[in-house]
């Protein structure tokens, strides 16, 4: 299958190889949570809710010099085309939960909140490839909304390599092609990588190009997230009458 049209240079959905899908972020979608956000990358739609910092529920897990970060990833039954019942805590979601937790832990200033707990819940409402990245982006927004101190904004984006072309932000069709799929998470300002995963294999020089493309994507998302946060802050300002 041709994922990049050799004559027009367009991908199947009309994007160019280094185009991202349309992204959208919204803050404060779950009133009960301390912080929440909705994040869309094309047809991938993810909701994140953050509780904390709060008292550690299971005292045995309490860490004396830093906060405990917990994360739970799940996919809504209706998130894919055919409605299937998924067991909670299958391998895939456990793995993604862990990935998101580690990525977020790397940027939360956990030492400022000893003996407390931060819960991050992310759920995929609609899946169309790149859920991992979308979850991290949503979690970042939600953490910021909850006012949890962070080093920087973590953003994530994926890139792949199909039809001998590096492609930014794979959608479901491209993702299921079985080619290499690099997911990168970076701290946008400090340019530090907090997450790097890849399926399949790539020669090293091509890998560098693909990763560079993913980093560009991360930076664009960071830019957008910053705008969303800024807008949100302005809104809060005006509500407070400042």
């Amino acid at each position: 299958m041709e994922y990049v049209d050799s004559l027009t240079g367009f991908r199947l959905d009309g994007r160019r190889p280094n185009d991202m899908r349309q992204i959208r972020g919204e803050i404060g979608v779950v009133a009960k949570a301390d912080g929440s956000a909705l994040f869309e990358m094309g047809n991938t739609k993810v909701i994140a809710a953050v509780y904390g910092p709060r008292e550690v529920q299971n005292k045995g897990q309490q860490i004396n010099n830093q906060a405990l970060v917990r994360c739970e990833y799940s996919m809504a039954n209706f998130s894919t085309g055919d409605r299937t019942r998924r067991p909670k805590g299958d391998r895939r979601s456990t793995e993604i939960s862990l990935v998101i937790r580690q990525t977020m832990e790397a940027c939360i200033l956990v030492h400022l909140m000893p003996r407390s707990q931060i819960d991050i819940f992310v759920q995929v409402l609609q899946a169309d490839g790149g859920t991992r990245s979308a979850c991290i982006n949503a979690a970042t927004l939600a953490l910021a909304d909850a006012g949890i101190p962070m080093r920087d904004l973590v953003t994530s984006c994926s890139a792949g390599y199909l039809s001998s072309t590096p492609l930014l932000d794979l959608n479901y069709v491209e993702d299921s092609a079985g080619g290499p799929d690099v997911t990168v998470g970076i701290l946008a300002k400090t340019d530090k990588v907090t997450l790097l995963q890849m399926d399949s294999k790539l020669p090293i020089d091509i890998f560098e190009n693909v990763m560079q493309l993913a980093i560009e994507g991360c930076k664009a998302i960071a830019q957008y997230i910053r705008e969303v946060l800024l807008e949100n802050t302005k809104l809060l300002e005006s509500r407070k009458g400042l």
Binding site: G14, Q22, G42, N171, V173
Partner: protein, 935 residues
């Protein structure tokens, strides 16, 4: 820049699911006109002048008139992405041709992706069929072009769809049919390329009176697709590929999976307009019609003559079962155990263009007008094709290419159109060209992009090459090559050095082609497409450009060359102590021919170091060969014919069998050993992506003809394994020296073909090579003329850590498709060389009627197939004149004998007969070699 619009689509994958995909519309898609002031013109391909006419074609125009579009006189064409997509779904080969047009820098074809353009995207309307929607999209795009480029430019929508044309005109778009557009150009030769759609086909009626039964329905209607599908599902119909008998075009076979036997289809009426290679649905005839096939043959057609077939038919193109129906002139009813059938529907057409000539016909009054002619393909399995032409006078004595367009049930012959002329009939170059085209061999000169990848001449070994730590300097070794006389592309050389401990160091040095052919370059792509060099009798079609094959890579004597070496340490009884692989630089000291090498070895007075090396190698090779044969390697034989060609006229002067000497076997032995060593090495490093070569064991059915022949001459062959077969072939010594060779030739025909494959696709147990009795095998030793070897060189270099593995090897399906292409090219190259031999045989015997001895290979009721050992020719000898009905010859199938009733004249299989050979031309433009018995 991004505009998103998602749309819902339902697809069926067993069940209905809703698929939602994003569809981005953009504003940065350019119109492709070089004169456009608004758009970015960097990628523009269309005309530079604003007053030009820009054509927009619809799907059916592309599908049906691709030959017209390929004509360089048609230019400034916009191909919309919606059209391209539809073409791709309907006909992949046409799609590839359009794609080639759109990427050809010489042609002004531009792909406009209207589906992603903000202004030309159309949403589906409720109740609108996909076809109507696409037509609307085309009209919208045409209108956009008109308004975008302004009034001075004429946008012309080319469509043969009346409805579409009418609507376009209503919407203010100028639209024309193909015929009227081409007519307006005023170029008669273009008109021949136009495929007439059946609805406009009025003048066709004129010619119909040539045929008496004009209005009669000749063929039964094909069943609708829905009925065929359900019939297949219920087992009433059987699906399979139609293979027409190459000896008798009125008989075909369909091998179907739903029925274990092959279905035989007799007569054109039962074939019901199916072509060779079509995927068809077949219905079995009722029992009472099982012997009815004969009458159908007779009322059908006129030409039932027989083509000389010199060529050993490879196991995959003859019917898999021995054919009891007479392949020569259907003179007796089929006494077949195969169920006869009838084609009810065609699932997939295998139509392409065919080479051939027009049947001679008188010039119609007024030469300027349209003439109808019958085209006879060179491939006898293809029926005659009716074409219309305006240049009949020009075409009558030419070989031409014709494409098939349609075949309706009122017409005895399919109709087609002229594509192009190859040249004068009978001219050797034309006929060679024909056989290249028939075998899909690209003989065009290399493009400038390809030639740009070559290192400049004169090339010499540079210091950089020597400084490379991966390259060993072996120039001090006494390396030499042994090849056929006159060989210019020398890709292998050897050396042999006695070591202090009594062992020998033997090296096989192969031209380092991959040093010059780098992955991903146009040169590499071209070579991978060509796959192999093709050797015809009078010329060679190279896989790589000449400067590489004959100079830079060729390991000629007394020049320094780069090579890839396999070096063994062998004990005197040819056991491998160690194997070493390295890139190297060598300097060959002698380029010997087989004859020279043999003469040196045989001349006991010669004691020079080179001759000693040769003798050492030869004694090692003999041991290796013996060991290999003990393991069960087959020594097969094929009649390889050698022509002596006149250097001036290129006409064949003499013809004879190729002689195999000890020196040939010596070289072969070391090449086999190198290939096996390399196969082991690359498989160890890359178990999932090595390119290997396997030779599947023949099945019982395939060996059946061999066993039957052997039994008839009282020979007992054990075919349980390759070892058993090899042993019993060795034991098969008859009363004359040629007997064993004949049996071996017959055995060779029963074998499957060896094929390339990617090691990731099969399990290790399937890797084995039956003929060589080797567990794994690959091709490493001829990178100049085979692309497989180039791939293996890259794998070996990567295994040694010299270079990185190109990314293509990571891509399993792509590697498989490369292997498939290599197999295809390899087979075609073989077919082409055989056809070339056949052609030259006919040229040779044209003025030399000859009497000679022949051996009977196969017994038929009205004759037998003979093999002429002296010339390697195979052909039929008739015992019964063709026009006579039943014969008075009785066939004894079990003993493979044919006896004349009432006499004692008997011919048995493998018997020697004397025959007379002569070139005759029973049908115009189809000269053939006729063999007759001298009694």
């Amino acid at each position: 820049m991004l505009q998103s619009k998602s749309f819902a689509k339902k697809t069926k994958q067993g069940r209905v699911i809703k698929v939602v995909r994003e569809h981005y519309l953009r504003d940065d898609i350019y119109c492709g006109a070089t004169f456009c002031k608004v758009c970015d013109t960097s990628a523009a391909r269309l005309s530079a002048s604003a007053s030009a006419t820009i054509l927009i074609v619809d799907t059916n125009v592309v599908l049906n008139q691709i030959d017209l579009l390929e004509n360089p006189k048609i230019d400034d064409v916009v191909v919309l992405s919606v059209v391209l997509e539809e073409v791709r779904h309907k006909n992949l080969s046409v799609y590839n041709r359009v794609k080639a047009l759109c990427t050809n820098p010489l042609r002004k074809f531009f792909v406009f992706s209207n589906e992603h353009h903000r202004d030309t995207y159309v949403k589906d309307m409720i109740g609108e069929s996909p076809n109507d929607r696409n037509d609307r999209a085309i009209r919208v795009a045409a209108r956009w072009y008109q308004s975008h480029l302004g009034e001075s430019t004429q946008i012309l929508l080319i469509t043969n769809d009346r409805e579409n044309k009418k609507r376009a005109t209503e919407e203010g778009i100028s639209a024309e049919t193909v015929e009227s557009y081409v007519k307006s150009l005023g170029k008669p030769d273009l008109l021949d390329l136009v495929v007439l759609s059946s609805s406009v086909d009025v003048p066709m009626e004129d010619v119909e009176d040539l045929r008496p039964s004009k209005k009669k329905i000749i063929y039964s209607e094909h069943k609708p697709m829905s009925e065929v599908t359900s019939g297949l599902l219920h087992g009433i119909y059987h699906q399979g590929k139609l293979r027409v008998n190459r000896y008798n075009p009125f008989e075909a076979y369909v091998g179907s999976e739903s029925i274990s036997e092959e279905i035989v289809i007799c007569g054109r009426a039962n074939m019901n307009r199916a072509f060779h290679g079509d995927i068809v649905a077949v219905e079995l005839l009722p029992q009472d019609q099982w012997r009815d096939g004969k009458s159908l043959i007779i009322d059908d057609d006129d030409d039932d003559e027989e083509e000389v077939h010199l060529v050993p038919n490879s196991a995959d193109d003859v019917p898999r079962f021995e054919n009891p129906v007479q392949p020569m002139s259907g003179s007796s009813p089929p006494v077949s155990s195969h169920p006869p059938g009838r084609v009810v529907g065609i699932i997939k057409r295998n139509w392409h263009s065919y080479c051939g000539s027009l049947d001679p016909m008188p010039m119609p009054a007024g030469n300027a007008g349209v003439a109808h002619a019958l085209f006879a393909s060179k491939d006898r399995r293809i029926p005659k094709i009716r074409i219309q032409t305006r240049q009949l006078g020009n075409l009558l004595d030419k070989r031409i290419i014709v494409a098939v367009d349609s075949w309706d049930c009122l017409s005895r012959y399919p109709s087609g159109h002229y594509v192009r002329t190859i040249g004068q009939i009978g001219d050797r170059d034309t006929e060679s060209e024909v056989l290249l085209i028939e075998n899909d061999i690209n003989s065009r000169p290399f493009s400038s992009q390809v030639l740009a990848c070559l290192p400049p001449l004169p090339w010499s070994l540079s210091l950089e090459d020597l400084a490379n730590s991966n390259r060993e300097d072996l120039r001090h070794l006494r390396v030499f090559s042994v090849d056929p006389p006159g060989c210019k592309d020398i890709d292998d050389a050897l050396h042999c050095k006695p070591l202090g401990n009594g062992n020998f160091e033997v090296g096989v040095h192969i031209a380092d082609v991959t040093n010059f052919v780098l992955p991903g370059t146009p040169l590499d792509e071209e070579a991978s497409q060509r796959g192999t060099s093709v050797y015809l009798v009078e010329r060679r079609i190279d896989m790589l450009p000449k400067s590489l094959t004959e100079d830079i890579c060729s390991l000629r004597s007394d020049v320094e060359r780069l090579s890839f070496s396999v070096i063994w340490e062998l004990t005197p009884d040819a056991n491998i102590v160690s194997t070493r692989y390295t890139k190297s630089a060598i300097k060959s000291c002698a380029a010997l021919s087989y004859v020279e090498a043999q003469a040196r070895m045989d001349d006991s007075r010669l004691m020079d170091p080179l001759t000693t090396d040769l003798r050492n190698l030869n004694s090692l090779a003999k041991i290796m060969r013996l060991r290999r044969i003990k393991r069960g390697a087959l020594t097969l034989a094929s009649p390889e014919v050698k022509f002596q060609i006149d250097t001036e006229t290129h006409d064949p002067l003499d013809i004879g069998m190729y002689q195999i000497r000890e020196a040939n076997q010596m070289i072969e032995e070391f090449m086999l050993a190198a290939n096996i060593s390399v196969a082991e090495k690359i498989l160890k490093h890359f178990p999932l992506c090595s390119l290997l070569r396997r030779h599947p064991s023949p099945t019982k059915e395939m060996l059946e003809p061999l066993l039957r022949t052997a039994a008839a001459v009282g020979l007992d062959l054990d075919v349980s394994s390759s070892k058993a077969l090899a042993d019993s072939l060795d034991r098969a010594v008859g009363d004359d020296p040629y007997f064993n060779k004949l049996i071996r030739i017959l055995a060779t025909r029963c074998m499957t073909q060896a094929i390339y494959f990617s090691s990731g696709d099969l399990s290790p147990s399937e890797f084995s090579h039956y003929g060589l009795a080797a567990p794994i095998y690959t091709h490493f030793t001829s990178p100049i003329r085979r692309y497989a070897d180039v791939i293996v060189h890259r794998l070996l270099a990567a295994a040694l850590g010299i270079s990185r593995l190109p990314p293509i090897f990571m891509d399993g399906p792509q590697l498989t498709s490369i292997a498939d292409n290599l197999n295809y090219r390899h087979r075609n190259a073989q077919m082409a060389s055989r056809a070339s031999v056949e052609l030259h045989t006919v040229i040779f015997f044209r003025n030399r009627p000859t009497d000679t001895e022949a051996r009977i290979l196969k017994i038929k009721s009205n004759g037998f197939i003979v093999f002429v050992p002296k010339f390697g020719i195979e052909g039929p000898v008739y015992l019964v004149a063709k026009d006579k009905g039943s014969s008075d010859w009785a066939v004894d199938e079990a003993h493979q004998k044919v006896t004349k009733a009432g006499t004692k004249i008997t011919y048995g299989i493998l018997q020697t007969v004397r025959i007379h050979m002569e070139v005759v031309e029973p049908q115009p433009n189809r000269p053939k070699l006729q063999l007759t018995l001298i009694s």
